[in-house]
Symmetry: C2
Subunit: 350 residues, 2 copies
């Protein structure tokens, strides 16, 4: 097997171990080498301190947030991202949705025996890079290897902790009639980027995932003193799932105007080919914010000025009807109920 | 498929969905039902508040610990435990090894399509029970489903956060010549319990896993003011890996007396059949504590009085030789180097 230039950038000797062996998860010398010479260097510019069971850090008194997500996306690499950057963005975004500033992540790998070692190096390099961009540190981890045929290349779990530095309560229970629903850009790109690769759809140019960290723009909203009633990232199940969940939890109906919901033409076309509703397709760098009408213009200005909020817009509002429904008003004025899909529109897109 | 009495104890309608479907990980109604009617009730006596991206909690100012572990043990159930209780004990113990009091866990599931729903209910029930015994709360989670043939029944990741309530530095760098090495009971039972099932070894009575939480006994040591230089749980790679890692990090040689290391006869017999060294076999409820000689008797008394420390004993000490080696003195007085195995003695035992 030829050793690529990228492989040579790895302190771990990929040419000696071109594929992951069961022994790389066994707790012995090979595992220590893999962690010490590949994983730790990817996550930290300074060599990691001694491997220990848990990492410790100092916190001020106050509220913290804690979250976890496993990533099983197939394929591992797609236009606009890969499982590594996705695993960082996903958990950073979950913390942001609780109104927290992300601080630390964990990274746990379940590797299928035989995974090309260069693939692992690409993924952990991407994770390290994404973490630096997000301003979070990956401080603890775990590596397991399962037999060939008992996994699917690579699964990653990231958990995250963050601090809540404001006094607002942000949850579906805070949503009120009259609240405006904002989103930070066009929807459905992540799911369709992954599906287009998997289904071999050809477009003039590839659909790129929207995978991105949204913690920065959320922090700007909160630091500007914007009242934010609820935040939710539009991942599995897309806008449809999120709105239904929030309508259910708040008790109120949410009315969305279909013409206001931004969906790119290539995403819409790909959805049509696959028979999907773009509103139900996952994003990985998009969120919905519920804010009082009086704050919505200022919120939109802040969001629109941030790189991951360039396409921010208002898509609807919370009504005073106590029906917990999501109502979609079409371009010709017809109104229909946007119901929660029963299950899996798009398997394994995150 | 007959519905068992155990299935009927589940709020989720197992008879309607006897097996996990891809849709149970899809972000739609089926996933919400699985989380709301099975997973959340298993983890909490009070129905969980609304599902949100991250959970928040209050902390005092000070040091916190954060850790993660994925569990891929095969089979999912073994004498003395299962993947669910193991996933709780493993992470609770990792926090304890950093000297932290475990507070909160996350639970993330990667389920292979087709897993019997009753199996999942058994596992999450066991996790909930183990968490209650450990005094920790599972407050955030994630559920993914992968296609049949792309997983192996069930993988679980748990991450955990805890608080450090003392001022001691506990790490391999603190280990000093003259420190005594203590363990809290007989070694190798977890690994051999799993291997005996997998290899179909027959004994008069089954070898039971030592899987147990050790945070309670560690807390008693710290609250009693015992100086603890280093703590390490004897998981993958067993005592051999742990001692080699600590010898390497501290710079000193560690001398162990083989006759003092407690290994049960049935474990020794099973190891002989499989050609394994019991000192390299994983435990899941055992740890090594490095304490100054002057504190060792009091430490042993405290450990021995705790249910998970009944078999506590002294097995060796740290020498003043700066060789980073682990020396094993046999019953006939011969001394050999106990070297780190290169790889996987026992695949997938945790």
């Amino acid at each position: 097997m030829a050793t690529s230039e990228f492989s040579l950038s790895c302190p771990f000797p990929i040419r000696d171990y071109p594929h992951v062996l069961m022994a790389h998860g066994g707790g012995g010398r090979l595992m220590q080498q893999l962690i010490g010479e590949m994983i730790a260097p990817a996550f930290s510019d300074t060599p990691l301190a001694l491997q220990h069971d848990a990492s410790t850090f100092e916190v001020p008194a106050g509220r913290m947030a804690f979250t976890t997500d496993s990533f099983v996306v197939r394929p591992l690499f797609f236009p606009g991202g890969d499982i590594g950057s996705l695993a960082v963005h996903g958990t950073v975004n979950d913390l942001a949705m609780a109104g927290a500033r992300p601080l630390y992540l964990s990274a746990a790998f379940i590797i299928e025996e035989g995974l090309p070692m260069e693939t692992l190096w690409k993924v952990v390099s991407s994770m390290g890079q994404a973490a630096r961009v997000c301003g979070v540190r990956i401080i603890t981890g775990d590596t397991k290897v399962v037999d060939k045929g008992k996994g699917d290349g690579l699964f990653i779990n990231t958990a995250g902790v963050g601090v809540v530095e404001h006094a607002q309560a942000i949850s579906p229970a805070q949503v009120r009639p009259g609240d405006v629903v904002l989103v930070n850009g066009d929807l459905g790109r992540h799911g369709m980027a992954v599906m287009a690769v998997r289904e071999g759809l050809e477009f003039e140019s590839a659909i790129e995932s929207d995978s991105a960290p949204v913690a920065g723009v959320v922090r700007q909203l909160l630091e500007a003193g914007i009242t934010v009633h609820c935040l939710r990232d539009l991942t599995r199940g897309g806008l449809t799932s999120v709105l239904n969940e929030i309508a259910g939890a708040s008790g109120y109906a949410i009315a969305i105007e279909e013409t206001l919901v931004p969906v790119r033409e290539d995403v819409r076309a790909a959805c049509e080919i696959l028979g999907l509703d773009p509103l139900g397709v996952a994003c990985e760098g998009r969120f919905a914010a519920f804010v009082p009408e009086s704050e919505s213009e200022r919120a939109l200005q802040i969001m629109g000025a941030h790189p991951v909020g360039v396409g921010s817009c208002r898509i609807g509002k919370v009504t005073d009807q106590r029906t917990s429904r999501v109502l979609l008003k079409s371009s010709i004025g017809a109104q229909r109920i946007l119901d929660l899909p029963s299950g899996e529109q798009l398997p394994r897109i995150c």
